[in-house]
Amino acid sequence: MSSEVKFNFVKLWSWLAALFIFPLIWVGGLVTTHDAGMAVPDWPGTYGYNLFLYPFWTWIYGPFDLLIEHGHRLLGSWVGLLVIFLCIAAWRQEPRRWYRWACVGLLGAVIAQGLLGGFRVVLDERTIAMIHGCGGPMVFAYATFVALASSSDWKTATARIVPRGLWSLSWILLASTVTQLALGAQLRHALPSTSPVGFMSMVHLHLTFAGVVTIAILAVALMVRRSPYAQEPGLRAPANALLALLVLQLLLGVGTWMANYALPWSETTGALARYVIAAKGYWESMLVTAHQATGSLLIASSTWLICRVGRRQFSLVENPDPLNNPQSTGALPRSISAV
């Protein structure tokens, strides 16, 4: 009997890819905050240099907008490399055919994001910047799914809960967070020619969806604590994460508005009346960028919730859980053994 245990490279690369996409989103957010999208006027090179050969010290000690834009490109390349490693590992180690293709899909998504970023520069088009900004969190959510599908929870979870709406609610939550992201991107990337009425409508929609997301997360938090989901501790983690992120995100949202435009009712207290916004101030920039980055974390956490709920419920819909079914023969149903 062989005692050799193969190191799970699929798990390693999939988690690393997901983990590095988050700082990539953060730096990309900084690029938007500092309007640094055109800090490097060429692509795929940097000021005529090959991306990887641009002089290190010129980059580090160069203007801040160049620092973050070139850094964003380098980080993007690194993520691309990680996903290539993931694909190779998946093809060599992963028995699940769909998963192998999911990794290839992730590589395609990362490449498409890179191309969008490139076209934004080459065409100097802010609308593409907005699409690129929305695409980042989508890729992050996808990478989160790929990482979660390599986890032991995915592989060992058994379908044993009776559906009571959490599955649908999880999808509603994901759709709401994605819509909220798209609306936020409209505000972040507002074109100089955007009409005041158009912008105001977008702000109102953004606030409305903040309400929808809040209600959905509160409902999720409540549902996982009640029957039949209360017996599944695996559902608590994503629900709690969503709740914590929601609180953080609401605070960051108010902070973002204050850091950009002050409050319309600033004359109510001395502190607000005296507050002066620091344009491109360190904390202001971080606050605004954090709001956008936390939005992507909410999308990723919604994906996490879907994975957890799906693995505990979806199979049951099609095939009764053999492990808890006294009439079962003990053989795993196809839907479980295949995934």
Binding site: L66, P196, A279
Partner: protein, 379 residues
């Protein structure tokens, strides 16, 4: 696939937004005039002198009132070219509120209070020159560096203090002046046509006069700036005893409540900004009261919405208890606000006793400044 989807994308050509609102306010009574057409004609005429949004130029034959090198750096889209010099500084920092044309109609404008400034009247609030005169560079520079507390106008101090963006504020000052000059010439072209009946196609000689007049006002601004006297010794040193402090406060209070200054009318007896008098600023009156529109009646003012009008909002007198002075909180800046007033707002200048004219002496003015500054302590 992605390439196919992105065909047709590219930097879109942007233009200055014609001053539709001004044309509409002047043609309100005459149904036969088309404000949109007149505003567009005036914008085209202005473009022939000042160039386009991405390629501005200074009108030939006019004494240069702004540094065009700075204007060119601020105009156009944001980004760096092969020379690594950053361009589009105005779009990067200002356009979201002030709009591409400096008309105060940036995307976010409708949600702000107060509304972002429309530069095209050539009127600025916080300056060192008397009402009717243009601000000096230092005034605009101060607003950019200090920001305006409690409003969306940020402080750009961080730019000035960083080596790489050190010129941004100076360049923005030049560009704001450029937009103000351009905007005022455009307004006067509209008025020339609508009030004097001169067709814009044949207005060249009169427009040259207007151009020289507007440019001349900006160039002469430094010579008209107020030289603020140094505060008296008692003002700058801490009061030696409570009695002297209360004495100065008492004197300042008398001036504050006097009919000569009429501070109480707007700022209220306690300086909380709750006086009986309420009024709109000149930017609002320009297209409402002057055009025969009652700003209190939505039915009336809403007819101007398609031309870019925002809901009229009453000018808010400062609540001194917050200690938040929009034009700067240094004694000298407050002295200026009192002596010069705040142009474009209901805040009038307080008469200064000079050459046997009735008014407050400098000593009395400093007492008033002292009182206003110390109202904050009582909150």
């Amino acid at each position: 696939m992605l390439g196919v989807l992105l065909v047709g994308c590219g930097p879109s050509e942007l233009d200055y937004r014609p001053n539709f609102l001004h044309a509409a306010s002047l043609t309100r009574e005459s149904a036969d005039r088309n404000p949109t057409e007149i505003a567009e004609q005036a914008a085209a005429l202005t473009e022939s002198w000042f160039g386009s949004l991405d390629q501005p130029r200074w009108p030939s034959g006019q004494a240069e009132a702004v540094r065009m090198e700075s204007v060119l750096r601020c105009a156009g889209p944001v980004g760096r070219l092969a020379d690594k010099v950053e361009r589009g500084v105005f779009r990067k920092h200002c356009v979201t509120c002030h709009g591409l044309s400096g008309d105060g109609l940036g995307p976010v404008s409708m949600l702000l209070e107060p509304y972002p400034r429309d530069f095209r009247r050539g009127t600025f609030k916080f300056k060192s020159s008397p009402v009717g005169k243009k601000p000096i560079r230092e005034d605009l520079h101060r607003t950019l560096v200090e920001g305006i507390p409690g409003t969306a106008m940020p402080s750009f101090r961080a730019l000035e203090e960083s080596e790489e963006f050190a010129n941004d504020v100076e360049d923005l000052v030049e560009y704001v002046q450029f937009l103000a000059i351009r905007g005022e010439v455009e307004r006067r072209a509209i008025r020339l046509n609508l009030q004097e009946g001169i067709p814009l196609e044949t207005s060249e000689p009169r427009m040259q006069e207007i151009l020289s007049d507007v440019v001349g006002k900006w160039n002469s601004a430094p010579s008209e700036a107020l030289s603020v006297p140094e505060p008296p010794a008692w003002f700058t040193t801490a009061p030696s005893d409570e009695e002297s402090h209360l004495e100065w406060i008492q004197k300042g209070k008398l001036h504050f409540e006097s009919e000569l200054t009429a501070c109480v009318k707007c700022h209220g007896k306690t300086g909380s900004g709750d006086g009986a008098s309420q009024d709109y600023d000149e930017w609002t009156k320009d297209w409402t009261i002057l055009a025969g529109i009652d700003p209190k009646h939505p039915k009336e003012w809403k007819e101007m919405k398609p031309y870019g009008a925002l809901r009229p909002v009453l000018a808010k007198p400062r609540n001194f208890h917050w200690g938040a002075f929009h034009g700067g909180k240094s004694p000298k800046e407050i002295f200026k606000r009192i002596v010069l007033g705040i142009e474009g707002t209901p805040m009038p200048p307080v008469a200064r006793a000079e050459n046997s004219n009735p008014g407050l002496t400098d000593q009395e003015l400093w007492e008033l400044v002292y009182y206003v500054m110390h109202l904050e302590d009582r909150s």
